[in-house]
Symmetry: C2
Subunit: 121 residues, 2 copies
DNA sequence: GTAACCGGTATACTTTGGTATAGTGGTTAC
DNA sequence: GTAACCACTATACCAAAGTATACCGGTTAC
Protein backbone atom coordinates (compact mmCIF):
# COMPACT_ATOMS: atom_id res chain seq x y z
CA UNK A 1 0.00 0.00 0.00
CA UNK A 2 1.26 3.40 -0.86
CA UNK A 3 2.87 5.34 1.87
CA UNK A 4 0.39 7.69 3.48
CA UNK A 5 3.15 10.19 3.87
CA UNK A 6 3.50 10.20 0.11
CA UNK A 7 -0.07 11.41 -0.40
CA UNK A 8 0.28 13.89 2.41
CA UNK A 9 3.46 15.15 0.83
CA UNK A 10 2.00 15.58 -2.65
CA UNK A 11 -1.03 17.39 -1.25
CA UNK A 12 1.39 19.60 0.62
CA UNK A 13 3.39 20.39 -2.49
CA UNK A 14 0.61 21.09 -4.95
CA UNK A 15 -0.63 24.32 -3.33
CA UNK A 16 2.94 25.43 -2.95
CA UNK A 17 3.45 24.85 -6.66
CA UNK A 18 0.30 26.85 -7.39
CA UNK A 19 1.54 29.75 -5.35
CA UNK A 20 4.96 29.62 -6.97
CA UNK A 21 3.36 29.66 -10.42
CA UNK A 22 2.03 33.12 -9.75
CA UNK A 23 5.02 34.68 -8.09
CA UNK A 24 8.00 32.89 -9.61
CA UNK A 25 10.83 34.81 -11.20
CA UNK A 26 13.33 37.30 -9.97
CA UNK A 27 11.13 40.37 -9.76
CA UNK A 28 7.53 39.69 -8.84
CA UNK A 29 8.02 39.39 -5.10
CA UNK A 30 10.28 42.45 -4.89
CA UNK A 31 7.73 44.45 -6.89
CA UNK A 32 4.83 43.41 -4.71
CA UNK A 33 6.92 44.05 -1.61
CA UNK A 34 7.63 47.58 -2.77
CA UNK A 35 3.97 48.24 -3.48
CA UNK A 36 2.95 46.83 -0.10
CA UNK A 37 4.83 49.69 1.48
CA UNK A 38 3.03 52.25 -0.63
CA UNK A 39 1.68 52.83 -4.10
CA UNK A 40 3.95 54.26 -6.75
CA UNK A 41 4.30 55.48 -10.27
CA UNK A 42 6.36 53.54 -12.80
CA UNK A 43 9.51 55.65 -12.46
CA UNK A 44 9.38 55.49 -8.69
CA UNK A 45 9.08 51.72 -8.79
CA UNK A 46 11.91 51.56 -11.27
CA UNK A 47 14.05 53.53 -8.82
CA UNK A 48 13.03 51.61 -5.71
CA UNK A 49 13.42 48.06 -7.01
CA UNK A 50 17.18 47.85 -7.37
CA UNK A 51 18.54 46.40 -10.57
CA UNK A 52 15.37 45.93 -12.57
CA UNK A 53 15.10 47.10 -16.21
CA UNK A 54 12.12 49.06 -17.49
CA UNK A 55 11.30 46.23 -19.80
CA UNK A 56 11.12 43.66 -17.00
CA UNK A 57 9.22 46.02 -14.71
CA UNK A 58 6.63 46.64 -17.38
CA UNK A 59 6.32 42.98 -18.19
CA UNK A 60 6.02 41.79 -14.59
CA UNK A 61 3.53 44.52 -13.71
CA UNK A 62 1.36 43.33 -16.58
CA UNK A 63 1.49 39.77 -15.28
CA UNK A 64 0.68 40.86 -11.74
CA UNK A 65 -2.21 42.99 -12.95
CA UNK A 66 -3.64 40.10 -14.93
CA UNK A 67 -3.42 37.94 -11.81
CA UNK A 68 -5.23 40.49 -9.69
CA UNK A 69 -2.30 41.21 -7.41
CA UNK A 70 -1.66 44.76 -8.59
CA UNK A 71 -3.91 47.61 -9.68
CA UNK A 72 -2.98 50.05 -12.43
CA UNK A 73 -4.49 53.54 -12.55
CA UNK A 74 -3.81 55.91 -15.44
CA UNK A 75 -3.94 59.64 -14.67
CA UNK A 76 -4.78 62.27 -17.28
CA UNK A 77 -1.64 64.27 -16.61
CA UNK A 78 1.06 65.63 -18.89
CA UNK A 79 3.10 63.66 -19.31
CA UNK A 80 0.77 60.77 -18.64
CA UNK A 81 1.42 59.11 -15.30
CA UNK A 82 0.39 55.71 -14.12
CA UNK A 83 0.03 54.63 -10.53
CA UNK A 84 0.52 51.08 -9.37
CA UNK A 85 -0.87 49.79 -6.10
CA UNK A 86 -1.14 46.40 -4.54
CA UNK A 87 -4.66 45.01 -4.43
CA UNK A 88 -6.36 43.52 -1.41
CA UNK A 89 -5.55 40.15 -2.87
CA UNK A 90 -1.94 41.14 -3.36
CA UNK A 91 -1.79 42.18 0.27
CA UNK A 92 -2.67 38.63 1.18
CA UNK A 93 0.86 37.72 0.11
CA UNK A 94 2.23 39.63 3.07
CA UNK A 95 2.81 36.52 5.20
CA UNK A 96 4.92 35.08 2.36
CA UNK A 97 6.82 38.33 1.93
CA UNK A 98 7.48 38.78 5.64
CA UNK A 99 8.57 35.18 6.00
CA UNK A 100 11.01 35.64 3.12
CA UNK A 101 12.32 38.91 4.47
CA UNK A 102 12.78 37.55 7.98
CA UNK A 103 14.58 34.52 6.64
CA UNK A 104 16.69 36.68 4.36
CA UNK A 105 17.74 38.86 7.27
CA UNK A 106 18.73 35.84 9.32
CA UNK A 107 20.53 34.35 6.35
CA UNK A 108 22.48 37.56 5.99
CA UNK A 109 23.37 37.37 9.67
CA UNK A 110 24.50 33.81 9.15
CA UNK A 111 26.70 34.86 6.27
CA UNK A 112 28.27 37.64 8.31
CA UNK A 113 28.78 35.48 11.40
CA UNK A 114 29.05 31.90 10.16
CA UNK A 115 30.38 30.67 13.49
CA UNK A 116 27.16 31.54 15.25
CA UNK A 117 24.87 29.67 12.88
CA UNK A 118 21.55 31.16 13.95
CA UNK A 119 18.72 28.70 13.61
CA UNK A 120 15.18 29.86 12.98
CA UNK A 121 12.14 27.76 13.40
CA UNK B 1 15.77 64.95 -0.22
CA UNK B 2 15.29 61.37 -1.11
CA UNK B 3 12.10 59.78 -0.01
CA UNK B 4 12.57 57.95 3.26
CA UNK B 5 10.13 55.37 2.04
CA UNK B 6 12.53 54.66 -0.80
CA UNK B 7 15.32 53.67 1.58
CA UNK B 8 12.92 51.72 3.71
CA UNK B 9 11.69 49.96 0.62
CA UNK B 10 15.16 49.03 -0.65
CA UNK B 11 16.17 47.73 2.76
CA UNK B 12 13.01 45.69 2.75
CA UNK B 13 13.71 44.22 -0.65
CA UNK B 14 17.36 43.30 -0.25
CA UNK B 15 16.88 40.50 2.29
CA UNK B 16 14.00 39.20 0.21
CA UNK B 17 16.32 39.09 -2.77
CA UNK B 18 18.91 37.24 -0.72
CA UNK B 19 16.37 34.65 0.29
CA UNK B 20 15.12 34.25 -3.25
CA UNK B 21 18.69 33.74 -4.46
CA UNK B 22 18.91 30.54 -2.48
CA UNK B 23 15.53 29.08 -3.17
CA UNK B 24 14.64 30.35 -6.63
CA UNK B 25 13.63 27.97 -9.37
CA UNK B 26 10.82 25.56 -9.87
CA UNK B 27 11.98 22.73 -7.62
CA UNK B 28 13.91 23.83 -4.57
CA UNK B 29 10.95 24.75 -2.39
CA UNK B 30 8.96 21.62 -3.31
CA UNK B 31 12.01 19.49 -2.51
CA UNK B 32 12.61 21.13 0.85
CA UNK B 33 8.88 20.91 1.60
CA UNK B 34 8.91 17.18 0.95
CA UNK B 35 11.94 16.68 3.18
CA UNK B 36 10.41 18.76 5.95
CA UNK B 37 7.73 16.10 6.24
CA UNK B 38 10.28 13.35 6.51
CA UNK B 39 13.64 12.25 5.21
CA UNK B 40 13.79 10.20 2.04
CA UNK B 41 15.90 8.33 -0.41
CA UNK B 42 16.42 9.60 -3.92
CA UNK B 43 13.80 7.37 -5.55
CA UNK B 44 11.25 8.22 -2.91
CA UNK B 45 11.81 11.92 -3.44
CA UNK B 46 11.58 11.41 -7.18
CA UNK B 47 8.19 9.78 -6.64
CA UNK B 48 6.88 12.30 -4.15
CA UNK B 49 7.80 15.51 -5.96
CA UNK B 50 5.41 15.42 -8.89
CA UNK B 51 6.83 16.16 -12.31
CA UNK B 52 10.51 16.44 -11.52
CA UNK B 53 13.16 14.63 -13.60
CA UNK B 54 15.99 12.67 -12.03
CA UNK B 55 18.45 15.10 -13.50
CA UNK B 56 16.81 18.14 -11.95
CA UNK B 57 16.33 16.38 -8.62
CA UNK B 58 20.00 15.45 -8.51
CA UNK B 59 21.10 18.94 -9.51
CA UNK B 60 18.86 20.78 -7.07
CA UNK B 61 19.77 18.45 -4.21
CA UNK B 62 23.42 19.26 -4.85
CA UNK B 63 22.69 22.97 -4.71
CA UNK B 64 20.66 22.60 -1.53
CA UNK B 65 23.39 20.52 0.09
CA UNK B 66 26.02 23.11 -0.79
CA UNK B 67 23.83 25.79 0.79
CA UNK B 68 23.43 23.80 3.99
CA UNK B 69 19.70 23.32 3.62
CA UNK B 70 19.79 19.58 3.01
CA UNK B 71 21.95 16.77 4.39
CA UNK B 72 23.01 13.79 2.30
CA UNK B 73 23.89 10.46 3.92
CA UNK B 74 25.27 7.57 1.87
CA UNK B 75 24.54 4.07 3.18
CA UNK B 76 26.76 1.10 2.46
CA UNK B 77 23.92 -1.01 1.10
CA UNK B 78 23.50 -2.96 -2.10
CA UNK B 79 22.51 -1.29 -4.21
CA UNK B 80 23.90 1.87 -2.66
CA UNK B 81 21.25 4.05 -1.11
CA UNK B 82 21.40 7.68 -0.19
CA UNK B 83 19.21 9.42 2.34
CA UNK B 84 18.31 13.08 2.09
CA UNK B 85 17.09 15.03 5.08
CA UNK B 86 16.43 18.66 5.72
CA UNK B 87 18.94 20.30 8.02
CA UNK B 88 18.14 22.45 11.01
CA UNK B 89 18.87 25.42 8.83
CA UNK B 90 16.59 24.10 6.12
CA UNK B 91 13.85 23.70 8.71
CA UNK B 92 14.09 27.42 9.33
CA UNK B 93 12.43 27.85 5.94
CA UNK B 94 9.22 26.40 7.37
CA UNK B 95 7.55 29.77 7.86
CA UNK B 96 8.16 30.53 4.19
CA UNK B 97 6.88 27.13 3.12
CA UNK B 98 3.77 27.29 5.28
CA UNK B 99 3.01 30.81 4.14
CA UNK B 100 3.27 29.67 0.51
CA UNK B 101 1.15 26.60 1.11
CA UNK B 102 -1.53 28.53 2.95
CA UNK B 103 -1.64 31.14 0.23
CA UNK B 104 -1.68 28.46 -2.44
CA UNK B 105 -4.63 26.75 -0.79
CA UNK B 106 -6.53 30.00 -0.62
CA UNK B 107 -5.62 30.81 -4.17
CA UNK B 108 -6.96 27.47 -5.24
CA UNK B 109 -10.16 28.21 -3.37
CA UNK B 110 -10.36 31.54 -5.15
CA UNK B 111 -9.96 29.85 -8.50
CA UNK B 112 -12.68 27.34 -7.69
CA UNK B 113 -15.09 29.96 -6.33
CA UNK B 114 -14.18 33.25 -7.99
CA UNK B 115 -17.33 34.94 -6.82
CA UNK B 116 -16.36 34.61 -3.18
CA UNK B 117 -12.92 36.18 -3.53
CA UNK B 118 -11.43 35.18 -0.18
CA UNK B 119 -9.00 37.76 1.11
CA UNK B 120 -6.16 36.80 3.38
CA UNK B 121 -4.13 39.22 5.38
C1' DG C 1 22.64 -13.99 -19.20
C1' DT C 2 18.92 -10.85 -18.37
C1' DA C 3 16.56 -7.82 -15.52
C1' DA C 4 16.12 -5.22 -11.60
C1' DC C 5 17.71 -2.32 -8.05
C1' DC C 6 19.79 2.52 -6.76
C1' DG C 7 21.50 6.91 -7.73
C1' DG C 8 22.71 9.10 -10.61
C1' DT C 9 25.26 11.23 -15.44
C1' DA C 10 25.77 12.68 -20.49
C1' DT C 11 24.05 14.87 -24.27
C1' DA C 12 21.22 17.59 -26.90
C1' DC C 13 17.58 20.39 -26.93
C1' DT C 14 13.76 23.64 -25.50
C1' DT C 15 11.83 27.09 -22.91
C1' DT C 16 11.85 30.80 -20.10
C1' DG C 17 13.54 34.66 -17.71
C1' DG C 18 16.25 38.34 -18.17
C1' DT C 19 19.44 42.11 -20.21
C1' DA C 20 21.13 45.87 -23.24
C1' DT C 21 20.23 49.29 -26.21
C1' DA C 22 17.68 52.25 -28.95
C1' DG C 23 13.48 54.15 -29.84
C1' DT C 24 8.36 55.91 -29.37
C1' DG C 25 4.38 59.63 -28.87
C1' DG C 26 2.41 63.55 -26.72
C1' DT C 27 3.31 67.35 -24.20
C1' DT C 28 5.89 71.20 -22.01
C1' DA C 29 9.99 74.27 -20.95
C1' DC C 30 13.66 76.88 -22.38
C1' DG D 1 14.44 73.37 -32.24
C1' DT D 2 16.25 70.72 -28.48
C1' DA D 3 15.70 68.52 -24.31
C1' DA D 4 13.05 66.75 -20.79
C1' DC D 5 9.24 64.37 -18.90
C1' DC D 6 6.54 59.68 -18.53
C1' DA D 7 5.65 55.05 -19.54
C1' DC D 8 6.65 52.24 -21.93
C1' DT D 9 8.04 49.12 -26.64
C1' DA D 10 11.09 46.83 -30.20
C1' DT D 11 14.76 44.14 -31.20
C1' DA D 12 18.44 41.20 -30.57
C1' DC D 13 20.73 38.60 -27.61
C1' DC D 14 22.22 35.82 -23.53
C1' DA D 15 22.04 32.79 -19.71
C1' DA D 16 19.92 29.77 -16.94
C1' DA D 17 16.46 26.52 -15.85
C1' DG D 18 14.44 22.67 -17.24
C1' DT D 19 13.26 18.41 -20.22
C1' DA D 20 13.84 14.02 -22.86
C1' DT D 21 16.30 10.22 -23.67
C1' DA D 22 19.80 7.00 -23.24
C1' DC D 23 23.27 5.29 -20.50
C1' DC D 24 26.37 4.03 -16.37
C1' DG D 25 28.55 0.79 -12.48
C1' DG D 26 28.10 -2.45 -8.86
C1' DT D 27 25.40 -5.78 -7.01
C1' DT D 28 21.75 -9.32 -6.59
C1' DA D 29 17.84 -12.43 -8.14
C1' DC D 30 16.05 -15.55 -11.21
Amino acid sequence: MKDHKSDLCINHILPIRDALDLISGKWKIPIISALCIHKRRFKELHRDVPGITAKMLSKELKDLEVNGLVKRTVYDTTPVSVEYAVTEYGLSLNPVIYALRDWGLKHRERMLHPEEKPVVA
